[in-house]
């Protein structure tokens, strides 16, 4: 326990020694985020995607009208993510339900029309896609005049595809170069801080976010964000976010960057109160850590894809929490910065390029995402949630980490996996369902 963090966003930013990014390289998306941060406001963003053009426009319009400093999101459907555009087209023809916006099936022209008079400097829009091989999507985005997108060669390959990592890395290199070649550069966010949504220890999340950001920069991107997903303990998350900012500041130099926090992406509380409480915690975590942007979740997401109104409610709630005073909380002091830096440096030592280093690191288990079933992930490392809610290594596999507690290395059962996956669900719902005071580290 040390280093109480302060809610004064501008002070923190200055303390990180960040230089002001050069004007021309700044994208419309990051200019908006920077402006909000300078005014002390948290940018909030939903996950939202609808199949039909008018519905998608209505959704974005709802977000734009929210009482919050919000950016828009177009989440693509699962067929488009895997470049199965024929299935997406067929679904549009037959009216079958899709779980997102089929960008390529609609085409850039129709998408640009859908965004007309809606997307702009005061309301930039990010496309979220989850694709390991997104070149066709990126081409459509560039043509449609999209402001920003996200993902990364590792973060959208290992958890969400069967594409060999080397192939994804090559594809993402070309994608970055496509974006970098545009007159008006798109902003690109690394999803590396969100691996598998839960049960990936913070040092690896931080390292992957920084490594993907370095990869983006290596391929010409000048406007980048680094992600981190809320985990199971606020004090540990504060330490992780501070480590991420410090490492990014050291390694990205004058690149225009900011940090985006994701409200918990794992098994979500099921009571309305529990889900608002975890969302509240994430908004406070964002303010305490100097994070510029927050991707929110809605209470409905535990059950189904949320409506526009539910998204707007969540955005307005998060914005209201962010505007309140948040009492400083002490971060843990468990060496996350040192561990993440060691993972970044030792990975970069493996090859002359960031992409090559990432491929080699995973091939030899030097980087190993716990529980990830992708054929190019060693899947020998294991993580666990300790009794204080700290997310820790149980087995390092071949990663260059200090061995975890042997006590935790007992075989994992299906039930104990469920218990760990549902840690936050229980924690936040219990406040509602059982009147038991939560024992807390802080």
């Amino acid at each position: 326990m040390s280093a109480a963090t302060t809610p004064e966003r501008r002070d923190r930013t200055a303390a990180e020694g960040r230089t002001t990014a050069p004007g021309p390289s700044r994208s419309r998306f990051s200019a908006f985020v920077r402006g909000a941060a300078e005014a002390g406001r948290l940018v909030v963003q939903p996950r939202m995607g609808f199949a039909e053009l008018p519905v998608m426009r209505e959704g974005l319009s709802g977000v734009r009208g929210a009482r919050a400093t919000a950016v828009g999101t177009i989440t693509l459907d699962s067929y488009t993510r895997v470049n199965d555009h024929d299935s997406a087209r067929q679904a549009l023809r037959t009216g079958a339900e899709l779980n997102g916006f089929p960008l390529v099936a609609h085409g850039p022209r129709a998408t640009r029309r859908m965004l007309e008079g809606l997307a702009g400097a005061d309301f930039p829009v990010q496309v979220r896609h989850g694709s390991a091989l997104p070149y066709p999507l990126f081409e459509a985005m560039v043509e449609a005049g999209i402001d920003a997108t996200e993902g990364g060669p590792v973060s959208y390959c290992l958890p969400y595809s069967r594409v060999p990592l080397a192939e994804a890395t090559d594809a993402w290199a070309r994608c970055c170069e496509l974006l970098a070649a545009q007159d008006e550069q798109m902003h690109l966010e690394s999803f590396g801080g969100c691996m598998l949504g839960q049960l990936c220890p913070p040092s690896l999340l931080v390292a992957l976010s920084v490594l993907e950001a370095l990869f983006f920069r290596e391929h010409g991107l000048a406007s980048i964000s680094l992600s981190y997903a809320q985990q199971t303990n606020q004090a540990q998350d504060l330490e992780a976010l501070a480590a991420l900012r410090r490492l990014a500041g050291e390694r990205l130099g004058a690149t225009d960057w900011h940090v985006v926090l994701y409200t918990y992406m794992g098994v979500y509380p099921r009571t309305p109160m529990g889900s608002y409480r975890i969302l509240e915690d994430s908004a406070r975590l964002a303010m305490l850590s100097g994070t510029e942007r927050l991707i929110v979740k809605t209470p409905a997401e535990a059950f189904r894809i949320p409506t526009v109104a539910e998204n707007v409610d969540a955005l307005e709630f998060a914005a209201a929490v962010a505007a309140e005073h948040t009492e400083p909380v002490a971060a843990t002091d468990t060496g996350l910065y040192e561990e993440a830096r060691m993972l970044v440096d030792s990975t970069l030592d493996l090859a002359p390029t960031v992409g090559g280093a990432l491929v080699r690191a995973f091939a030899r288990g030097h980087l190993d995402v716990p529980f990830c079933l992708h054929q190019d992930n060693a899947n020998l490392s294991r993580a666990y949630v300790d009794p204080h809610g700290l997310l820790r290594w149980a087995r390092p596999g071949s990663m260059p980490l200090a061995p975890g507690d042997t006590e935790s290395a007992r075989p994992l059962s299906a039930q104990s996996l469920i218990d760990m996956l549902a840690y936050n669900e229980r924690r936040f719902d219990r406040e509602q369902l059982v009147r038991v005071r939560q024992w807390s580290l802080t």
């Binding site: 699962s78 595809s161 992406m265 189904r304 079933l373």
Partner: protein, 174 residues
């Protein structure tokens, strides 16, 4: 549910469908089946139909367990099972599907009948626990007959009540 009796080790192929990138449901299912003495080949996320078919031909599992939570299960599942049933070698393979099969929450039950009619031996939809799936497994483990469970294979209107990986809120993708 007695869990301490000796059962035959059954062979399972566990897989997602082609468009579904979710993984925790598959990690959980593997652990669950292994704890019950099963031998599991886990194909992971986003598996093309052809790969599932090829693996089933090679592995000859007792059961193919399809788990999907992205809401496209009713579309991908029906396409997959038709291909499987058209394959002479796999026409009699025991195949079950579970998870969040549509994007309508509790109304996803509407898809159950279609999937059963399409050729699945059992469909486990909705937000309840694992009971029905475990009963199905118990039937598989304790029977020498290739008798098919009728769990979830009823008229599709009774709620059938089970999501295979009792895991909700796993929309980690993008």
């Amino acid at each position: 549910m007695p869990s301490n009796i000796v059962r035959k080790g059954r062979k399972f192929v566990v897989s997602s469908v082609s468009s579904d990138a979710h993984m925790w449901n598959l990690v959980f299912l593997q652990l669950l089946l292994e704890e019950r003495g099963g031998v599991v080949r886990n194909l992971g996320a986003c598996v093309p139909d052809e790969l599932i078919i090829e693996e089933c031909r090679n592995e000859r599992p007792d059961v193919l367990v399809i788990s999907t939570v992205n809401g496209h299960g009713h579309l991908d599942g029906i396409r997959l099972i038709r291909k499987i049933r058209q394959d002479a070698e796999l026409a009699d393979l025991r195949v079950v599907i579970g998870g969040k099969l549509g994007v309508r929450g509790a109304e996803n039950v509407a898809f159950v009948e279609e999937l059963v009619t399409g050729g699945f031996d059992a469909v486990f939809e909705s937000e309840a626990g694992l009971q029905d799936f475990q009963e199905f497994l118990f039937g598989v483990e304790s029977s020498d007959r290739p008798a098919l469970s009728t769990v979830g294979a009823g008229d599709g209107a009774d709620g059938t009540g089970t999501e295979v990986p009792a895991l909700s809120g796993l929309r980690a993708a993008a």
